[in-house]
């Protein structure tokens, strides 16, 4: 899409005549993208439902539960295994260390409540925390998600800002075992 059209779309979104319908359309589009792109698979804690493990939608997109303290990476069994996940599917251990999925709800202190669309877009484009910080770790599929269009990212962010806020402070990543061992020397 060329820049002129992008500017026109941006200007349209600012005009009051387009605003109300635009928001609803954005939220619906964002919800569609979030639910079809697998965001709940990792950012919503799993629990054991009647048919087996499933996302606990009462904690939708709130990330790794802070009550679930993980202090060490697990020891993997012999064989070709390189990664492990908790039963919540919100903490993942691999050669990168242990990563914890982020709280994507609009809670201002522990989620995206203070983020702007620019922060969100920059985060997905650069693969860096808060758009400018540490690298976001696997299994977050940044190499694929950075291909979302600006319009798609705006819709996703608008939807995420509309969902219930959940206060949940996600822990920082744990370093890889090798690096941690060297750091302790």
């Amino acid at each position: 899409m060329n820049r002129s059209i992008l500017f026109i779309l941006a200007a349209m979104s600012l005009h009051p005549a387009f605003a109300a319908d635009g928001d609803a359309t954005q939220v619906a589009r964002g919800k569609y993208l979030v639910t079809t792109s697998g965001c709940n698979d990792c950012h919503t804690p799993w629990h054991l439902g009647p048919s087996g493990p499933e996302p606990d939608m009462s904690r939708m997109l709130s990330g790794h539960p802070e009550s679930r303290v993980i202090e060490h990476a697990p020891t993997l069994p012999p064989g070709p295994w390189i990664a492990a996940a908790t039963d919540t599917n919100t903490a993942h251990s691999g050669p990168w260390g242990v990563s914890f999925t982020a709280n994507l709800t609009p809670d201002p202190e522990t989620g995206l409540g203070k983020w702007t669309l620019a922060t969100f877009t920059q985060t997905i484009r650069t693969g860096r925390h808060l758009g400018r910080g540490r690298k976001i770790l696997p299994p977050m599929p940044i190499p694929m998600y950075r291909n979302f269009t600006d319009e798609d990212l705006a819709a996703i962010f608008t939807y995420l800002q509309s969902i219930p806020a959940v206060k949940n402070r996600v822990p920082e990543p744990l370093p890889p075992v090798v690096a941690a061992t060297e750091a302790a020397r």
């Binding site: 820049r3 026109i8 200007a11 005009h15 620019a118 808060l130 400018r132 822990p171 990543p173 690096a179």
Partner: protein
């Protein structure tokens, strides 16, 4: 029905967008960016002014040289003293050298007002530097050449994308305790004003030598270091990261500005909580650097913990010692004094 003004706004925006396409692509060779005199790869074009900020960015010990070019007849608009507006056509270069020049970074303001960023990697002979890949690269096994989006990450968070060329950084009142400061050049705030290269300087600043209003020399240098190394992401007047931390100083606000910076750090909780730390962990705990999260992060080069997160792989020992000394000297009554 949208009104005519709205359509005019859209039309102007579209025209602005198309102007971007008129700019030539980045030169492949550094020599073609205008840094050097014609026919030379070492002699700087005399139209480019050498400068040195008093609070330089730590770059793992690399020696740095910097130059700015302003198109003839133009001047920097300083009506917002903490956010200088540079004319279209402005160019800046920063050369990084270890035992020899390694890379030269280049930023340029284009005809449509946007900025572009690039870096050029020097050959071993020092005879030519060529455009680096836009997604960055690593030299000598550990020296990181930034990706284009890493350039934007730092430069586009601040109030002005030009980070080291500002009223505070070019003040003639240089901080004697500032870590890693290079020798000053003949370019400072007053000489720029005198040469007509800055316009619209507020009268209060026209004859000033801005400095950080701190309670001690140690504090002045510590806050200056945080300004130069962290303020481009942690500020109140640019596009900061969404955490409540202000480390960028203001030449307008004086002591009130310093107090604002201190209040955002002293006894302040933060989003980042190190593993094993309690909920009571504070960014800066007066008198106790070892429990201050700021020190934990500056002391770390674990990529998931370190601050700054980009552009450094080695701890800045001199600055770390300065920050530790500053926090150790801070009185525990400071937090009370800073309460609104």
């Amino acid at each position: 029905m949208p009104n005519p003004v709205w359509f005019l706004t859209v039309a102007a925006a579209a025209a602005l967008a198309s102007a971007h396409a008129a700019d030539a692509p980045l030169p492949v060779h550094l020599g073609d960016t205008g840094l050097y005199a014609a026919g030379s790869s070492t002699q700087i074009d005399p139209r480019n002014l050498a400068f040195s900020p008093q609070y330089p960015l730590w770059s793992d010990g690399a020696a740095k040289r910097r130059w700015i070019y302003l198109p003839p007849g133009t001047a920097i608009d300083a009506s917002r003293p903490d956010a200088w507006e540079f004319p279209n056509g402005t160019r800046l270069w920063k050369e990084f050298a270890l035992d020899r020049p390694v890379e030269t970074r280049f930023i340029e303001r284009l005809a449509d007002g946007t900025w572009r960023y690039a870096t050029y990697i020097w050959n071993e002979e020092g005879t030519d530097a060529t455009l680096a890949p836009a997604d960055g690269t690593t030299l000598r096994g550990s020296y990181a050449v930034p990706a284009e989006f890493d350039c934007r990450a730092c430069h586009e968070g601040a109030a002005s994308p030009v980070l080291g060329f500002s009223a505070l950084q070019l003040s003639a009142d240089r901080d004697p305790l500032a870590p890693h400061a290079d020798a000053r050049t003949d370019i400072d705030l007053q000489t720029l004003i005198a040469r007509g290269l800055i316009k619209n300087v507020p009268s209060a600043l026209a004859g000033a030598r801005p400095r950080i209003e701190a309670s001690s020399g140690i504090e002045r240098a510590a806050l200056g270091y945080l300004h130069g190394n962290c303020g481009h992401c942690h500020n109140s007047n640019g596009t900061p990261v969404p955490v409540e931390l202000t480390l960028a100083q203001s030449v307008v606000d004086g002591a009130a500005g310093t107090e604002h910076v201190l209040r955002s750090m002293i006894d302040a909780g933060g989003r980042f909580r190190p593993h094993g730390a309690s909920a009571a962990a504070r960014l800066v705990t007066p008198g106790n650097p070892d429990t201050s999260v700021l020190i934990t992060r500056v002391r770390s080069r674990n990529p998931q913990t370190q601050m700054p997160p980009i552009g450094t792989r080695l701890i800045d020992a001199e600055a770390l010692a300065l920050l530790e000394r500053w926090i150790a000297q801070k009185s525990s009554s400071t937090a009370e004094e800073l309460k609104p």
